[in-house]
Symmetry: C2
Subunit: 124 residues, 2 copies
């Protein structure tokens, strides 16, 4: 499917870039200036994920967060890092630390995810 450039997509990408953090649909809706339906935000974000522009992580509180990819190429993605969520300001960010696990004998490893909650340097 050939993608088209739209105001909605530009606005969402801009917001993700300027925030430098991972954002939920709810956060994007609250912060974005363009008038845009809730569903559109989800669809824009999901299309970014399909295209490898963002990645989606389900937080420990049950919401999806979306963050710009860095170090991802076509089919080789790199999202296996820890994510931090601040209990005070709600900020979610990708941490550089990769998630490394040792599985028992005979197990095959697929994807990994890791979450840490706590207080960020501002809210500390």
């Amino acid at each position: 499917m050939k993608r088209r450039s739209t105001p909605a997509k530009k606005a969402v990408i801009e917001l993700l870039k300027s925030s430098g953090t991972a954002l939920s649909q709810e956060m994007i809706e609250a912060q974005i200036t363009e008038k845009m339906d809730r569903v559109t935000i989800y669809r824009v974000l999901n299309s970014f994920c399909e295209d490898g522009i963002t990645h989606r992580i389900l937080s420990d509180e049950g919401k999806y967060y979306f963050a710009l990819c860095s170090g991802c190429e076509e089919d080789k993605h790199n999202h296996e890092h820890f994510h931090f969520r601040c209990l005070e300001c709600q900020k979610v960010e990708c941490l550089p630390q990769p998630v490394i696990v040792n599985l028992p004998e005979g197990y095959i490893q697929g994807n990994t995810t890791g979450w840490v909650t706590g207080y960020c340097n501002n809210c500390n």
Copy 2:
């Protein structure tokens, strides 16, 4: 609130013990022999969590799993280990490996969770 011993509680505990894995409400409902409402299962499981008998983890696919606690006491819990989910047989289990993260300067660490998907030794 003083707890009472009921058939529902006994059945759920038995199932958790005999399975040796973490189970979702859905799995419990499917495997349990007693007739028991969906809501009752959730309530029984949540009461176990309050009492420190089980712990609850939100999986990477968005469902809650419940596992018997081991090494938890009154207020000192020990759930900061990785959880494995088999993509084939859906089994979820607690791995011995603890989740260890290093946060940036000035951050305060709260809880951590870690998930690994893949194939278990049986489904491999």
